[in-house]
């Protein structure tokens, strides 16, 4: 009997085992997780902290899921090393586990900058349910928090803490929030919302020291400014959890490099999710696109291929959606180009009064990116135009019309419709 091992118990891992079990009911499947919590909706942790989602709603797959699908789940077990030559993995307790086929879906971890005091108590990452539960514990005594980083995680943490009546300051090194998904203009709308809702933004400065004797007292910025706080969340991005393949023949750049079958360079080792560096459709190059829906997609393809289905993964692209104090924002693919770059074309719509900003980026009559603020209708249609690489020269002037929608692209997409559904 074959033994399939999946490292990682989140979106990619679960999606993979589901895909495997669809066609293969007999092989032994072992899922290993370094968290001690059953599989959960990771993206909901900020909603949980905000008090908007109850704990039981976090559960992604119940215990019975593993039983029903005959899956052995090993929680709280960290994999230290993969040994491709011996087809086995070594766990933290030095135990070994062999596999016929392996999926590495270890996800990513918050990047902690090297600065004095970063190891102090009450300095947290914002990635796991454990992080959030610990943060929650100190909320009754915490008054004010500093969040390092103005990315999506930082914003979500800020939102959650604000909802719990904590005074929040967001320290952003660059000149804008969400610099990895929005242009300066779009970020402006989000910043306005943030500030309107009583969260302070500090731009162009970075923390240099976390101050306090044992207990956290304040943080010091590179400007010399010292801000008192009783809670720090470090949200300066994540890095793929690739330690377990260090010093192995498995190719790693930023993440573990996957081919179009989501295979690593070792044929019986696959990778998916936030740790996977797959093909980026827009950049036309390998890239890590860490996002829940992508992890689900990749996990499924990897799982199918672990059962020998030989499916190609068409690739992913950077995208994200965000709802912030009633402002909806979507970013797809390329969101920012160098000024006057002749290779690109921009189509924009702006209504400051209504807080609507829409920008599409085209290259050679193909859509390669979009930023939508305040009006995100049809973002799925734009995503489709990007993914399916549809020449939109005939559509350009319609894309941002109030009534634009799927019917306008119907005869361009590769889909036969005998009767319109």
């Amino acid at each position: 009997m074959k033994q399939l091992v999946v490292i990682g118990n989140s979106a990619a891992g679960i999606s993979a085992v589901e895909a495997i079990r669809k066609v293969d009911k007999t092989s032994k499947i072992i899922v290993i997780s370094d968290e001690d919590y059953p599989s959960y909706y990771r993206c909901l942790i900020s909603y949980y902290l905000a008090g908007q989602v109850r704990e039981e709603k976090l559960l992604y797959r119940s215990e019975s899921f593993y039983k029903e699908n005959n899956i052995e789940l090993r929680l709280n077990r960290k994999v230290m090393r993969v040994e491709p030559k011996r087809n086995r993995i070594i766990l933290e307790d030095k135990s070994q586990l062999s596999y016929d086929s392996l999926l590495i879906a270890t996800g990513a971890s918050p990047k902690f900058p090297h600065l004095a005091g970063i190891k102090k108590r009450n300095v947290f990452g914002f990635r796991t349910i454990k992080d959030v539960k610990e943060i929650e514990k100190i909320l009754p005594v915490a008054k004010n928090a500093c969040i390092l980083g103005g990315g999506l995680i930082g914003l979500k943490a800020a939102y959650a803490l604000k909802k719990r009546n904590i005074e929040v300051k967001l320290i952003v090194k660059s000149k804008q929030v969400l610099s990895q998904m929005l242009d300066y203009k779009a970020a402006g709308f989000v910043q306005k919302k943030i500030e309107e809702n009583g969260i302070e933004l500090i731009f162009g400065q970075d923390a240099v020291e976390i101050i306090g004797d044992g207990e956290l007292k304040a943080i010091k910025l590179d400007s010399g400014k010292v801000i008192g706080c009783s809670l720090v969340i470090v949200a300066k991005g994540v890095s793929p959890n690739t330690d377990l393949v260090k010093d192995t023949p498995i190719n790693v750049r930023e993440g573990i490099i996957a081919n179009e079958f989501l295979q690593t360079n070792i044929p019986n080792i696959y990778t998916a999710g936030d740790v996977c560096e797959g093909f980026d459709l827009v950049l036309n190059a390998p890239s890590v696109n860490a996002l829940w829906p992508i992890a689900v997609e990749q996990g499924r393809v990897a799982g199918q291929n672990m059962t020998g289905q030989g499916l190609k993964y068409q690739g992913s692209l950077g995208m994200n959606s965000l709802e912030f104090f009633g402002l909806a924002v979507v970013s797809l693919g390329i969101f920012k180009i160098k000024e006057d770059d002749p290779n690109f074309e921009e189509i924009k719509f702006l209504d400051e009064k209504q807080n609507i900003y829409k920008k599409l980026i085209l290259k050679d009559n193909y859509l390669v990116g979009a930023v939508l603020v305040g009006d995100i209708r049809n973002s799925g249609v734009f995503l489709r135009l990007i993914r399916e690489r549809i020449n939109i020269s005939s559509l350009k002037d319609k894309l941002l019309n109030e009534n634009f929608g799927y019917p306008e692209i119907m005869d361009l997409v590769n889909q036969k419709e005998n009767l319109y559904v």
Binding site: C43, P293, L322, G326, V330, G380, Y406, P407, V421
Partner: protein
């Protein structure tokens, strides 16, 4: 299982289906009352125009629904037997991932309620409200081909 189809040539763009949809999903059920509410029920279907034709656009309940994959809150599931995507409002957090990935642009965000607007085939009724609302018979409710 039954599915909604449209005879596009018959659609005059009157938007009666939109009204019927909004009202059947409202608590008041009455147009005059509903439009005066702070967050009125909004149609889950929109009639869009393209090249001389009108197209009602609403969730198609895809067999491999991208929205279900994208849902990071477990609010969306695909019910094979019913042939439809089910939405559990109590689990939804309004992250708009489903809006972002719907290849038909058939899901719109309702910013006020923070819930996506998507067709539920009027699940507790014999047939969707838009079917009888259509004055020209352009909305067809029949077994899936």
């Amino acid at each position: 299982m039954k599915q909604l189809y449209y005879e596009v040539k018959k659609c005059l763009g009157c938007k009666s289906c939109e009204f019927a949809c909004a009202l059947t999903h409202s608590l008041t059920g009455e147009l005059f009352k509903e439009i005066n509410k702070e967050d009125p029920s909004l149609p889950r279907k929109k009639v869009l125009f393209s090249k001389g034709n009108n197209y009602p656009v609403s969730c198609r309940h895809c067999r491999e629904p991208k929205c279900v994959d994208a849902c990071m809150a477990g609010a969306l599931t695909y019910d094979k037997e019913k042939g439809m995507v089910l939405h559990d409002e109590s689990s939804c957090v309004g992250c708009w991932m489903c809006v972002m990935v719907c290849p038909y642009g058939a899901i719109r965000p309702n910013i006020k309620t923070k819930l996506p607007l998507r067709c539920d085939k009027c699940k507790d009724k014999d047939e969707p409200a838009c079917v009888s609302a259509c004055p020209t018979g352009a909305v067809i409710w029949k077994e899936e081909a």
